[in-house]
């Protein structure tokens, strides 16, 4: 394994770890709002490291730019969705 490959693999490992952290938070936290808090932070950090790992692997500036755009859009979507779902959950309360 070259140094680049080791670096990329390490990024992937960290990324998958954060995805798991998000899922564990989603499963374990006690109420709607804390669950929301767990997942939106963890999954985007996870995606960031996966984007980083893939970017190192491709080693191409244009592809890296596209990956960065994908990550930015995903973070933006998750942030907006989290804020809005939290408000909506306040309103509908614990209705199933």
């Amino acid at each position: 394994m070259t140094l680049i490959e080791i670096l990329a693999s390490a990024c992937l490992a960290v990324g998958v770890f954060f995805f798991f952290a998000g899922t564990v938070g989603l499963l374990r936290f006690p109420d709607v709002h804390s669950r929301l808090h767990a997942l939106t932070k963890a999954d985007n950090l996870g995606l960031a490291f996966i984007v980083l790992g893939a970017g190192i692997h491709f080693g191409d500036v244009m592809i890296a730019a596209k990956l960065a755009l994908v990550w930015f859009l995903a973070v933006f979507a998750a942030g907006a969705a989290a804020q809005l779902v939290a408000r909506a959950a306040l309103r509908t309360g614990d209705e199933p």
Binding site: T23, T40, W71, A74, A77, A82, R91
Partner: protein
């Protein structure tokens, strides 16, 4: 090296399966929507990992479309929490004082 990417993709699939459990349990609709949102981010990750693992940069366009449309279902969902389904949960606070009975 390609296998490392697929292994990571497999890991994300496992975390998606965990999120599905929350979507099944609920209990609130917000929980189910949240799980779908997390799985959407997971889908972006899997698409990127497949692109890297199979050395097919064209697959990144699928990740781009996923990321663009990631918040769509959540946006439609929060609309349902407002009185006539056309409001903004951030804006309708004054009307919400009398707490609409949720459908």
């Amino acid at each position: 090296m390609d296998d490392v990417f697929l292994l990571a993709a497999l890991g994300i699939l496992v975390s998606i399966a965990g999120a599905l459990f929350r979507a099944w349990r609920g209990p609130t609709r917000a929980d189910r929507m949240m799980s779908a949102q997390l799985i959407g981010t997971g889908g972006v990750g899997v698409a990127i990992l497949l692109a890297a693992g199979r050395d097919a940069p064209a697959m990144l366009d699928v990740a781009l479309v996923f990321a663009l449309l990631a918040a769509f279902a959540a946006l439609a969902f929060v609309k349902t929490a407002t009185p006539d389904g056309a409001g903004d949960p951030e804006a309708d606070d004054t009307e919400a004082q009398d707490r609409e009975p949720a459908p």
